[in-house]
């Protein structure tokens, strides 16, 4: 890997000019990377990405004019395959989670050693993702938490459980945007029968019309039984 180092262009974005100089010095002295540019502005940074096409951007996440996360998204949107290493002062789980979610390839703290920074850059340039183990732990806490909340929300007193199997069929066709005639045709029953089912569904779900029924179904995990079997 050492032989490619001098070819890799790096862009530095940090609102602290001193910190910027420090990192630049570190990287030019200790590695063979080519610092394509440095800037304290997120907007200028995005333009520099377009101009110099760096392999990797090392970006501070709390910038004055523009949110660092938003800047990451915009760089991702360019579709240049630019790698992004977040350099942050905060080990906030939610921040880590969001940064990784929108496309960061790594996240390290400003307090870490210079050797660790160089290692992170090497890993990311090699096509990997890099999170120090402490931050990785915090990420997964948040990651699992977000899924636990989804499940719990659809647990307590789900009125969908009171539906009969036929009513479930009718409701599914409702959630596909069918009207009475469409449902009747697909289930090979009369339109009046469908009306009966739909009215029973309304009473059981305590709603007044089909739109509310469909919304209740979607918000309370209707159809997740099938998806759960496939995806979990």
């Amino acid at each position: 890997m050492r032989e490619f180092k001098r070819k890799s262009r790096i862009l530095l974005v940090d609102d602290n000019a001193e910190h910027l100089r420090g990192i630049k010095e570190l990287l030019t002295l200790e590695t063979g990377y080519d610092i394509a540019g440095t800037t304290t502005s997120a907007n200028i940074g995005i333009n520099l990405v377009k101009k110099y096409r760096p392999e990797i951007v090392i970006m501070d996440i709390n910038l004055p004019e523009k949110d660092g996360l938003q800047a990451i998204q915009e760089i991702e949107k360019l579709g240049l395959g630019t790698k992004i290493l977040v350099l942050s002062g905060y080990d906030d789980p939610d921040l880590i989670y969001r940064a990784m979610k929108i496309g960061a390839n790594g996240y390290v703290l400003k307090t870490m050693s210079s050797a660790q920074l160089v290692y992170a850059i090497d890993e990311i340039l090699a096509g990997k993702y890099y999170l120090p183990s402490a931050l990785s732990s915090r990420f997964f806490e948040h990651f699992q938490q977000s899924f636990r909340e989804e499940c719990e929300a659809s647990d307590e007193e789900n009125l969908l459980t009171y539906l009969t199997s036929r009513e479930e069929e009718v409701l599914e066709l409702l959630t596909q945007g069918n009207n009475y005639k469409g449902i009747a045709g697909k289930l090979f029953i009369s339109e009046t029968t469908v009306k009966t089912h739909v009215n029973n569904i309304f009473q059981k779900l305590q709603v007044n019309d089909r739109t509310q029924a469909v919304l209740y179904a979607l918000n309370n995990g209707f159809g997740k039984k099938i998806r759960a079997k496939i995806s979990a």
Copy 2:
């Protein structure tokens, strides 16, 4: 940490009896952990968790009778705070992703060194999550991919972009289950005006009724702009 080791109970679940013996020997010889039990069956494993309440379960993920992922979910549902370390023969990104998603605290390959296994157990017992860097990379690939797909799906020719801001307001109220009167009241405009807006929405979204409009909105990322500002 060393002084707590002997107190921590471990449960081993692996369909390969030989492998089971090997791990048990390794852990009893090289560490002070207490092997609470070993089994080749996922169902028995779940019962053993209830009985012995181990701090950690080391589980093979491809079991004969029951899916390992399902077993993890059931152990999680017990709410005993049992930590789970997945021991798998596969470094499939999707498998890693799903295991971590449903509650695993770590994922290591069977090919790894015994020292790494012991390290992983220590980390998890200390309340952390553990993924070897190679698997961590694969996890994040899949993690980001899943979000990219969500966005791309709602990109190409999104009819929602043709809506005016007022129509967006009306549509949002539709997606909350309001009827004409409700929308008119909330926007302080007449019911007939709402009808006009709704009809324009139908034409722009190429649908025939409000349920289809709501479904189109939900399936094409309506409201994500607002959520994006908050959560990303």
